[in-house]
């Protein structure tokens, strides 16, 4: 597994900032009415997407969720193309036909955000089956929430990945709430990771707010999968800064109970401290990266705002491949 070095640290810090800035911008813009539909923001969970994707190449696949912007950014999707997609513009990554919940870029190994909770599991298994069949060393990461863990697809897919020893890492983002329902209410098992035992595969729970913990655990899991040792479940305990969707009053958040530990942590500030203390970044470099990120997101917003809406005739495009 690759240890955190200077180059990797800069990449990680930039991606974490990109996600936070992207989501904070979308949060603000959403209130103006410029963004149609609804959006589910990833802010607060950055260390999971970035800590995992730091180990992946464009040839590795990921499946994502309705809260997918962070996964897209971490997997290398173009920021301007993403923002334009969320605005419903023709220059969007999906030509304005997908929107926030369906951003995808297969060339980058991003098999799509997914509007169906639990929809990504079997698709990840299929991509893993493909990798195994073609005898590649590429892996698939299936990001899923604590809510999706209670869908039937979880059981079927984890079981299939286990019996076929597929290179699929099931990364659970346990942000404590499935919509407005707490994980501790909705799951019979205390953790998601402990369910792995039922499938005869390893499961591990880490502090998903700690980039270094996610980075390390994901690195091990991904290495293991590349060596043909099969799937595992990596549960990352985390928290979302915003509601389930924009406009959610979040009355279910207690902030003084079991969630407090995760709610109070800012994974980006913590990682910055860690990186500087361990001489992986200087203060100046960190400031420079943060400023570049802000500028990149501002440019993405400008691009999206100045882009044309889709031409009417594109309504009919791409229902079928010719």
């Amino acid at each position: 597994m690759k240890e955190l070095d200077v180059k990797q640290t800069a990449w990680i810090y930039k991606k974490m900032n990109d996600i936070r800035n992207f989501e904070d911008q979308v949060h603000q813009i959403f209130t103006t009415g410029s963004i149609p539909g609804f959006v589910h923001l990833y802010a607060g969970e950055e260390s999971v997407a970035v800590g995992v994707c730091a180990h992946l190449t464009d040839k590795d696949y990921i499946t994502s969720t309705h809260r997918g912007h962070g996964h897209c950014i971490a997997k290398g999707c173009d920021l301007a193309g993403m923002m334009a997609e969320i605005y419903g513009k023709e220059t969007g990554l999906c030509k304005g036909k997908g929107g926030s919940m369906h951003i995808a870029d297969i060339d980058k190994g991003m098999l799509g955000a997914n509007g169906m909770v639990g929809g990504g599991f079997p698709i990840a298994v299929g991509a893993g089956l493909r990798n195994k069949y073609l005898k590649t060393a590429d892996v698939v990461v299936c990001f899923f929430g604590d809510g999706a863990a209670n869908e039937g697809t979880f059981h079927e897919s984890v079981n299939m990945a286990a019996i076929w020893k597929l290179p699929v890492i099931f990364v659970n983002e346990n942000n404590s709430f499935a919509e407005a329902t707490p994980q501790w209410y909705a799951s019979g098992s205390k953790t998601i990771a402990e369910r792995a035992a039922a499938y005869g595969i390893p499961g591990e729970t880490v502090d998903g707010k700690d980039l270094t913990a996610v980075y390390k655990a994901a690195g091990k899991a991904i290495d293991r999968a590349r060596r043909g040792k099969g799937p595992m479940i990596l549960e990352c305990r985390t928290y979302r800064n915003y509601g389930h969707f924009e406009g959610d009053e979040q009355k279910y958040k207690a902030l003084d109970g079991k969630e407090k530990k995760y709610a109070d942590q800012d994974c980006i500030k913590d990682f910055r401290k860690y990186a500087i203390a361990n001489k992986l970044l200087t203060v100046e470099q960190a400031d420079q990266i943060a400023a570049t990120s802000k500028a990149d997101i501002a440019a993405a917003v400008k691009f999206a705002e100045n882009s044309p809406i889709p031409r009417p005739e594109t309504l009919y495009d791409n229902v079928f491949a010719d």
């Binding site: 696949y61 499946t63 969007g92 990554l93 999906c94 030509k95 304005g96 036909k97 997908g98 369906h102 995808a104 870029d105 297969i106 060339d107 098999l111 799509g112 997914n114 509007g115 169906m116 929809g119 599991f121 079997p122 698709i123 990840a124 298994v125 299929g126 991509a127 893993g128 089956l129 493909r130 990798n131 069949y133 073609l134 039937g152 697809t153 079927e156 897919s157 079981n159 299939m160 019996i163 495009d317 791409n318 229902v319 079928f320 491949a321 010719d322």
Partner: protein, 343 residues
């Protein structure tokens, strides 16, 4: 004499030839080989079943378990995996043992496989063939006898084909596997034993094209799947009264061949559609709607649909026979339409 093989063998041969031609073609399904990881079978390289009806028999011994993959009883899981494998470059053929099991895995077709290309702005291709079977007449009762090709065909991004002859079964399946889209290939389980002439060499039958099985000028009968034989039987009876019936085997339910159907109705002015699906919002009602909209002025009477009743499929043999559209019912329907011709 040309070679005659069964409907089932024709499908098996298409799969065999597709796998021979293209290593990206893999098969997924429940017991499509059977006996996975059973030593005495592995020692002899044998499959246990080759599918619940034996349609895929012999393919595992020939191509191995890497390409003929027995799945757990997990329709949602393996059908979704087939979508994922297709999106990442394989050309899977997944078998849904009975179309009645679609409830377990509809998401993979309805919300995932059919929509990826569109949602992703054209970046994805889903070259997936889903083989399944439909149809009453096998005493399989309500949960193993339904006909849901019409429901599936109403989903944008899905093609649905329903062959009626061994020849078309082979050619349509080879075309489906070559197609870069999600194609549902729905087999009538009561046709598996039907024998007819089928060329040995691989060939394709065009998806989206209906076939005129009998020409006529007085009445058009459009049929789906095994209803072809009900249509042909009726045409034969009507011919005795001097009524010339054009029988069209639709073959593709989605997108169905409007040109062939509309041209026929323009010629005959009368139309009966025989569809084994339940009567509301099925392929027959869709055809009736398009015909009424497009060629109303050519019609000499109402468009008639002869379908199954709006009930689940009953078990008792006599009730099941009543459920299925038959020639007597079509004759009664035709009598109304052709009354003016007889006078």
């Amino acid at each position: 004499m040309a070679r005659r093989i069964t409907f089932m063998k024709a499908i098996n041969e298409a799969l065999d030839q597709a796998m021979e031609q293209d290593e990206r073609v893999i098969l997924l399904g429940e017991d499509i080989a059977g006996g996975a990881d059973v030593k005495h079978l592995a020692d002899k390289n044998e499959d246990a079943w080759g599918g619940v009806f034996g349609v895929t028999k012999g393919l595992m011994p020939k191509y191995g378990r890497e390409r003929v993959i027995d799945t757990p009883i997990s329709e949602m899981g393996y059908m979704g995996a087939a979508v994922g494998a297709a999106a990442t470059g394989l050309r899977p053929v997944s078998e849904l043992m009975f179309n009645d099991f679609i409830g377990f895995c509809l998401d993979t077709i309805l919300a995932q496989g059919s929509k990826m290309r569109y949602m992703f702005g054209g970046k994805a291709k889903i070259p997936l063939t889903v083989r399944t079977c439909h149809g009453a007449g096998a005493s399989a009762a309500a949960q193993h006898s339904g006909s849901y090709y019409g429901i599936l065909g109403s989903i944008p991004g899905v093609k649905v084909v329903v062959p009626a002859t061994p020849y078309d079964a082979k050619g349509l399946l080879l075309a489906a596997i070559k197609d870069d889209n999600l194609v549902i290939f729905s087999e009538d389980k009561t046709l598996y034993g039907l024998k007819d002439e089928v060329p040995q060499a691989a060939y394709e039958v065009e998806i989206g094209k209906a076939k005129i099985k009998r020409s006529g000028t007085d009445l058009t009968i459009v049929t789906i799947g095994k209803m072809l034989y009900v249509g042909l039987e009726t045409a034969e009876k009507l011919a005795k009264d001097g009524i010339e019936t054009e029988v069209i085997d639709l073959l593709t339910v989605a997108p169905w061949d409007q040109e062939t159907v509309l041209n026929s109705v323009k010629k005959t002015g009368r139309l009966i559609i025989i569809d084994e699906a339940n009567p509301h919002n099925n392929t027959a009602t869709d055809i009736a709607s398009v015909v009424s909209d497009q060629v109303f002025d050519y019609l000499d009477g109402p468009v008639k649909c002869v379908c199954a009743p709006n009930t689940p499929v009953p078990f008792a043999t006599n009730l099941e026979q009543l459920y299925l559209p038959n020639s007597q019912r079509v004759m009664e329907t035709a009598a109304e339409l052709i009354a003016d011709l007889k006078n």
